[in-house]
């Protein structure tokens, strides 16, 4: 197999091609789409989804799914918002460890339910999706945390930049992607997550502590959702019990699946996931330019997922057929 072909067989190349085709097409129609300004818009649309996608990628690779990440995001953001409201003097950075810790506890809850009771994660997290959202309403008295409450230092993080004019919030998201890459590729934990997802029956026979690995994966997903929660407060400047994080799991799963992560576990890369997130970001940024109303966004997302999967399937199938013929 030639190098070129082996690259083209990779999922990542396919998504990259889709991004290029999509951006070129939109750019031909609306040239301002291909400017640095719109790149920044695209990037600003992505950080939360990027972080959520990293969490979801690890969960899917382990042959589980976490539907509750939007609710964990909402709950963590609400706890932090309440903290800022009740204790206006608290040091603003404290919101980060609090959000991450709260998220981690919720994620651990998911993990415990999955491991101790051997329940399917799709059912457990469907339950906690509702449960955690309901708790968000209870602790907030169903009231929104307003702009005035969120510390200014936190809010400007999505505009100010320490380097290259890239806002903090984007740097954090890419930092998380890098961290996930290192975990997935270069730690024993990462390889065990892939092994577990690839063959759950064989995992214990090869000395993998399935319970421990599963708990870590769900806790990590919670912690990252918590981080996304405080970044939500930074980006939008408010926390709303019903809107914050609602539908987040859908965008995240869309990005991850487009990025080539298998819902059957064992397969998926950080690079693919990042590209999946960017493709969705491009679509989201193009919609207002093309004059498509935001209300159609969900159906467009849905269509993008299906188209991406169909293109990928046919391209890769052809690639595989060709290779096998070469082997003969």
């Amino acid at each position: 197999m030639t190098l070129v072909r082996s690259i083209f067989l990779r999922r990542e190349a396919g998504i990259l091609v889709m991004i290029v085709i999509f951006c070129t097409a939109v750019g031909l129609y609306k040239p301002q789409f291909l400017t640095g300004q719109s790149l920044k818009i695209i990037l600003l649309l992505t950080p939360l989804v990027m972080i959520g996608a990293m969490a979801q990628m690890l969960v899917l690779v382990a042959r589980h799914v976490d539907l509750s990440i939007g609710s964990m995001l909402g709950f963590s953001a609400m706890v932090v918002g309440l903290m800022y409201r009740e204790y206006p003097d608290v040091y603003w950075l404290l919101g980060f460890p609090v959000a991450i810790l709260i998220g981690a506890v919720l994620g651990l809850g998911n993990g415990l339910l999955v491991t101790i009771f051997s329940l399917p994660s799709i059912i457990v997290t469907l339950g906690t999706l509702s449960l955690y959202r309901g708790l968000t309403f209870i602790i907030s008295d169903a009231r929104q945390i307003n702009r005035s409450v969120i510390p200014t230092e936190l809010k400007v993080m999505s505009r100010t930049s320490p380097i290259f004019d890239i806002p903090w919030i984007i740097l954090i998201a890419f930092g998380i992607a890098l961290m996930t890459f290192i975990i997935a590729r270069h730690t024993q934990l990462g390889r065990q997550i892939y092994a577990l997802g690839s063959n759950p029956e064989a995992a214990p026979l090869r000395g993998i502590d399935v319970t421990k690995v599963t708990l870590i994966v769900f806790t990590l997903a919670g912690a990252l959702s918590g981080l996304a929660g405080i970044l939500y407060a930074s980006r939008w400047g408010f926390v709303n019990p019903s809107n914050t994080g609602a539908g987040f799991e859908f965008q995240v799963i869309a990005a991850v699946v487009i990025g080539g992560v298998s819902i059957n576990g064992g397969i998926g890369t950080v690079m693919g996931t990042v590209l999946g997130v960017l493709l969705l970001g491009c679509v989201a940024a193009a919609l207002p330019l093309l004059g498509i109303p935001g209300s159609t966004q969900n159906s467009i997302y849905g269509a993008v997922i299906l188209i991406a999967l169909l293109i990928d399937r046919s391209v890769r199938q052809r690639g595989i057929n060709r290779t096998s013929r070469v082997v003969e």
Binding site: R185, H186, T187, Q188, L189, G190, R191, Q192, Y194, A195, G197, S198, N199, E201, A202, A203, P204, L205, R206, G207, I208, K212, V213, I216, S262, G265, G266, I267, E328
Partner: protein, 497 residues
């Protein structure tokens, strides 16, 4: 003495599958472990490998008592079990599969990729296997997967390597390679337990032989001290009686005729015909294309060119529904994968092919369904607790009977049976032979695919032998022998060894 097992017993839910096994294994020997299906060979192997724990009994390793509490404990003690179809992580690289389970350090410690890759290469080199260690396991041939497993056992410096029926899925050439490696491992002072059904292999490879029967130890001796006849007699505990067909059948008109059936790369130029009342055997090695021909006939993966005539009329079979309409039935080889709906009840499994009969007015009638399935169960004497029992709870033989029963309910004229008696015990096998004979006697045409030569020889009127996608011999019942079938089955083409 490497392993001394004394008084090993194992119970599963009150059923004793191993009783009081005493067995010593020498350092640097290849030790055959023989016995019928269900004799307890695999259970014993799994006890040594830490998968199961014995209910009673003691194990000594190098003279010291050991407790093999888990597969990892076994690995640390230097015991490796190689499954017939190796357990692996299909999405992980070969290199990772070789080292998985041996990593030092905690969960957040670094993966030493360079070392892993070098180690994996070295162990595969020791086996003279050239594989890209970074490619995923998925798509590797079973022979190569076994090699990776052996490399894995070398990586943990195993002193005892247990191979559970390793040769069954291999080609003769791959078997040769495996034997060479086994002998080399013996020279290095490692001990190998070789579990197999093939006596000829045991004879060329093994030093000593142990026979289990019904969970009990029957004999251990050097291989040269026992004859094949004695081994067989001890395994089955009685002399093997050749099965005879009960009926003399009058052969009717041609039921199925196929000519020049081809599917490029899979099988080529297949022609034969079956008449009513005839049983045609299709012999050959695994991978010769027999199942593919059956699948083409049944429309699962239709042939590219060629003609199929059913009852004298040219037929077009593009999907299984076409085949069913023409009166064909197909009992597939892979029972778990293609045969049963494992979570459904026996009853629903039986009636799955005949929706019209159980729902005469479009709505399923419980009364009809129950009557029909009860009769099917009685006809084939399927042993079960209740019709509503999930089919997966039945024994393999009774599952197989249920699948046959399901197809008989469609009142087929032509039956294709792919390895119908694989993995079922001798008693049920005999019942199957009777059933197949009865079906032929009632004027059905039967195509029987089997890897068991005695089965072909005793049941079939004619035997076609396939090799590398072609029919290499057509042997009438009178002149067919095990030798003549094997002669035709061994690949001789350019692609062959």
């Amino acid at each position: 003495m490497l392993i001394e097992a004394s008084g090993i017993s194992k119970q599963f839910g009150g059923v004793e599958v191993l009783s009081n096994i005493d067995l010593d294994l020498h350092i640097g020997e290849i030790h055959a472990l023989l016995g019928e299906n269900g004799a307890g060979k695999s259970t014993f192997a799994k006890i040594l490998a830490g998968v199961h724990r014995p209910t009673r009994g003691k194990l000594k390793l190098n003279g010291k008592p050991v407790d093999i509490s888990s597969p990892i404990a076994a690995q640390k003690l230097g015991i490796a079990l190689i499954h017939q179809e190796p357990i692996s992580f299909p999405d992980l690289s070969i290199a990772e599969n070789i080292v998985m389970g041996r990593q030092a350090g905690g969960l957040f410690s670094r993966v030493p990729w360079t070392k892993i890759i070098e180690d994996a290469r070295r162990y595969l080199d020791m086996l003279d296997v050239s594989l890209d260690v970074m490619r995923p396991m998925r798509g590797l041939s079973i022979a190569n997967q076994q090699m990776v497993e052996i490399a894995r056992s070398l990586a943990s410096d195993s002193k005892l390597i247990i191979m559970d029926e390793p040769t069954a899925p291999l080609t003769p050439r791959e078997v040769d390679t495996l034997f060479k490696i086994a002998r080399r491992l013996r020279e290095e002072g490692r001990t190998i337990i070789f579990i197999s059904h093939r006596l000829e292999e045991v004879r060329v490879l093994c030093d000593r032989v142990t026979i289990f029967r019904d969970g009990a130890h029957i004999l251990t001796d050097t291989i040269d001290a026992v004859t094949d006849e004695k081994i067989i007699k001890l395994m089955i505990g009685r002399t093997l009686k050749k099965y005879m067909r009960k009926h003399e059948v009058t052969v009717g008109e041609t039921a199925l005729e196929i000519s020049n059936l081809s599917l490029p790369g899979i099988f080529e130029d297949i022609s034969f015909s079956i008449r009513r009342g005839e049983i045609i055997g299709l012999g050959g090695l695994v991978g010769a294309g027999r199942t593919d021909v059956a699948r083409a006939l049944f429309g699962v993966a239709p042939a590219a060119t060629g003609r199929i005539t059913v009852g004298g009329v040219e037929a077009k079979i593009d999907k299984p529904a076409d085949a069913i309409k023409l009166g064909l039935a197909f009992v597939p080889e892979d029972r778990a994968g293609h045969g049963i709906f494992s979570t459904l009840s026996v009853e629903h499994n039986l009636t799955a092919t005949i929706p019209d009969k159980i729902a005469p007015k479009g709505i399923i009638s419980r009364r009809h369904e129950k009557r029909i399935s009860r009769k099917a169960v009685d006809d084939l004497s399927i042993r079960l607790a209740s019709l509503r029992q999930p089919i997966i709870e039945l024994s393999g033989g009774n599952q197989q009977k249920s699948i046959l029963a399901r197809w008989l309910l469609t009142e087929p004229e032509i039956l294709i049976l792919d390895e119908p008696t694989r993995g079922i015990d001798i008693g049920v096998k005999a019942e199957f032979y009777d059933m197949i004979g009865d079906l032929a006697a009632t004027g059905r045409a039967i195509l029987l695919i089997s890897s068991e030569l005695p089965e072909l020889l005793s049941l079939c009127d004619r035997i076609l032998v396939m090799s590398e996608g072609r029919v290499t011999a057509e042997l009438p019942r009178e002149s067919a022998t095990q030798e003549s079938i094997m002669q035709a089955a061994v690949p001789r083409g350019i692609r062959a060894a």
